[in-house]
Amino acid sequence: MKKLTMSLWITGAFICAVVIAGIFAPLIAPHGPYENSILTKFTPMSLTYPFGTDHLGRCIFSRIIYGIRPTLFFSFLIMVGTMTLGTVLGLMSGYLGGKFDEVIMRFVDIILSFPSQIVVLAVVAALGNQIQNVIIAMILVKWAWYCRMIRGSVLKFRQSPFVIYSKMIGMPTLFILRKHILPNISADLTVLASIDMGWAILNISTLSFLGIGVQPPVSEWGAMLNEAKNVFRSNPIQVIFPGLSLMSVIGAFHYMGDALRDLWDPKEAL
């Protein structure tokens, strides 16, 4: 059977651990995310407060554990949204070609010509400062990029002999798309999805850092960084752990994408 690579084990295990920690946050976190006390303000690392406390005396470790929930959940929503939209339109536009392809691709061009970050800000400004608006805005600006990438992968296979053969022996278009094209581009899709996941985590956090999307006092890594920034001079250690968590989780998603590509693409594995 196929061999699971070392990096896949490590990154996979890490991501699973993070997800489980997020789900069982109340059991793992020693304190509540909003438990504050002026007496424990800026406590250094100790057994009671593994990562110390912030300017309101809240346990940073507990807040990071609770912060997994909004961060990963919202990024996952964004990833699923962009990938679904991008895959469906990319498949159709790449496989059907002709006028449909032309219309979709020009539309994609229009969306790609906007700077994505600023469009998100504009959409949020127009629709309001809630997290669902941020998610919708991010899906709307990002699907085009994936649509184009997936269309490129589909084009590689559209005229390949096995697709033509399948067409010639009377297989329906939906069958060809589902059974031939989709599995053959799945390696590309996985890599895209994991990069997308990293991108989404980073963007959700960026926007929270800017004060859009997830609002304080909800513990979200970007929002925590924003709060830590305000007290950076008096308690510089407060920025380290939210920053490290972001970095390690985004890095893990990227490495996992690479490892999955090696595993699922038999052509590269041989």
Binding site: I164, Y165, S166, M168, I169, G170, M171
Partner: protein, 269 residues
Amino acid sequence: MTILEVNNLSVHFKNGKKKMCLIQNIGFSIRRGECLGLIGESGSGKSMTMKGLLGLLEPSFQVTGQVVLNQKDWMAQKPSLKREIMAKEIGIVLQNPMNSFDPLMRIDRQMKDYMKHYKKLSRSQMHQWLLRLLEGVNIKQGDEVLKKYPHQLSGGMLQRIMIAIAMALEPALIIADEPTTAIDTKSQKEVIQLLQTIKAKGQAGILFISHDLGVVSALADSIVLLHQGKVVEKGLCQDFMKAPASSYGKELLECKLKIGGENHATRSC
């Protein structure tokens, strides 16, 4: 009984206002148990004719003419119906067996997926049926072959599997587009023998497309010679091989003789 009748088939390529004629007024007919060889040099329009016939060309190509398949007007059929007819009444064998199977699917998965659209069988029945199909094309270790991925099998083997798939639903017409071009001589012989047995059974007509005159003379009853998208010569295969009527046919045969002659000369030295 006539299986396929083609009259005045033309293919035009439209590019803006320009219109180029690629295939001009081709006509032929195939009866059950008969093999028609569609021959010509590379680029003469053999494969284009087949694709135009089956409606597989992009929309920028315009196909006109009359095609009657099994007494039904083929060109007038709806696309969805065309697909079904193509699966049930036409068997296809293509020229590059190594690339004609999905590299990520095992052979059994692939054959089952293709078959289950048009034949309802239980799992074990389907397996038995596939084994019988493979036996029909002289693959004895069917169980092993079915478990393999396409890249684990040889071109000759895959070509025979493709013939098995083509024969599976007992089609009335088999279209073989240069089935011997990409495989070695021994496999070529096997493929030709298989097609000969199919022909001998007399259930299907064969449209055999090739540039290899030797292979064509072993199989075809009659030939249609194409040159630059036009029919140059039509007739019985034997007559053509002995004495081609057209000057282009003579030229083509002479080329073959010359190459054969040189080979012979070098061997005798």
